[in-house]
Amino acid sequence: MIALASPSKREARDVLDEPVSASRLTLFHSCRLKFFFRYVQRLVKPVSPALFVGQAVHHALQAWSNRRWKSQPCSDNDLWEAFDAQWTTAQGEMDEPIAWDDEEEQTQRGKAWTLVEHYLATTPIPTDEKPLAVEVGVEADLSDMGLPTLCGVIDLVRPGGVIVDFKTTATTPDGAMALHRHDLQLAAYSLLYREATGENETGIELHHLVKTKVPKLVVTRADPINQDQAARFLRSMVSYVEGVKREDWVPSPGIQCQACEYVGDCMKWSGGVE
């Protein structure tokens, strides 16, 4: 007799009771076993230097947006202080600090700040432009469709209702492919924005900061989502619910495994049977 193994006390229904973010949904559709490790088993993994750098840059851009919103000074010098303080604070708050090699921390800190400086120098957003929202948490109750609550945190909403998402990346993104890759996230943010404001977004922008030797900023613009994108998103939500109910945890080996923090757990996975 084959029985499903239950290595975690958490069950599928616990996951289904929780709100769904775009990243949760995207992960489920890219690798269900990774989803299982992260959201069902809740296996905690140390933060990678690359993730830490991305978070530091993101935080600095958030501080920049907040300062513009509050009409506070937001020169490079003003932001450097916020960036530097956050870098130190974030390290102090870590349960398992990053094991930097020798001078790697200084190098990474310098690289992160260079990205921020480059963004400030080349951003299409005017310094005196006041945001509509910064790092704002929003939810949409989809229970009347038998779906979990959709939630998300929108990085920035520009005047007129343009949704902006900041990203750091190692390679220069291709516009159309970037929009396709982030389709679920963009649809989720659009639907959340509509739910929260009662209005349609007027556009979406992906601001990619590329970690090349000389940093680059690539801004990809998209129109408001259309009916087909909303339908795709909804179908993905339905598939998510059905897959979680079935406890359909299977790995999707591929190039993405190279950067997966659960690759060791994945290799040991017995197939969910005992």
């Binding site: 349960d95 469709m145 909403v157 509509r194 009662g198 909804l234």
Partner: protein, 168 residues
Amino acid sequence: MALKLIANYSKRLGLPGYSSHQFSVSVETEITNVNDVAGEASRLYLTLQKSVDSEIQQTGFVPSEGYGTADVLEKGRGGHPSGGNGTSGNGIWKCSDKQKDLILKLMDEHSLAKADVQNLAREMFGASEVSGLNKLQASGLIDRLIEDNGGKPPRRGTTPRYSNGRSR
């Protein structure tokens, strides 16, 4: 001694509009000879399959293309009972009940004057009344009230926290 034989046949078929329907029939019977199991199972399988196939052809209500999707899009235009464009069942407030309660709680806890909060809402969103803020604006106001009064806006998201870092 009588042996109990339980058989179940189930079929699930996809339908347009991201829906599906399913029907299953179960029977329980008794046999006296264990050698009859195979024959009886085969007979039951055919019978149950025929029954399910006959019934499952009746699809009943089938959603049209765009069913559900339109609801999602409509939510954003005030079509949902708690939509952002209208009131949300909390009087004249446009934000959610939870947001309204939190704003009032923060005002109470930090002894914030209504006029000051009103001014903040005006400064941030150009809104004449806090009650007129939509959910997006109310969320921003709540974060600012928490931050301005010595707190840290809540960590958001659905990702279990790593060793550090923001979660989503």
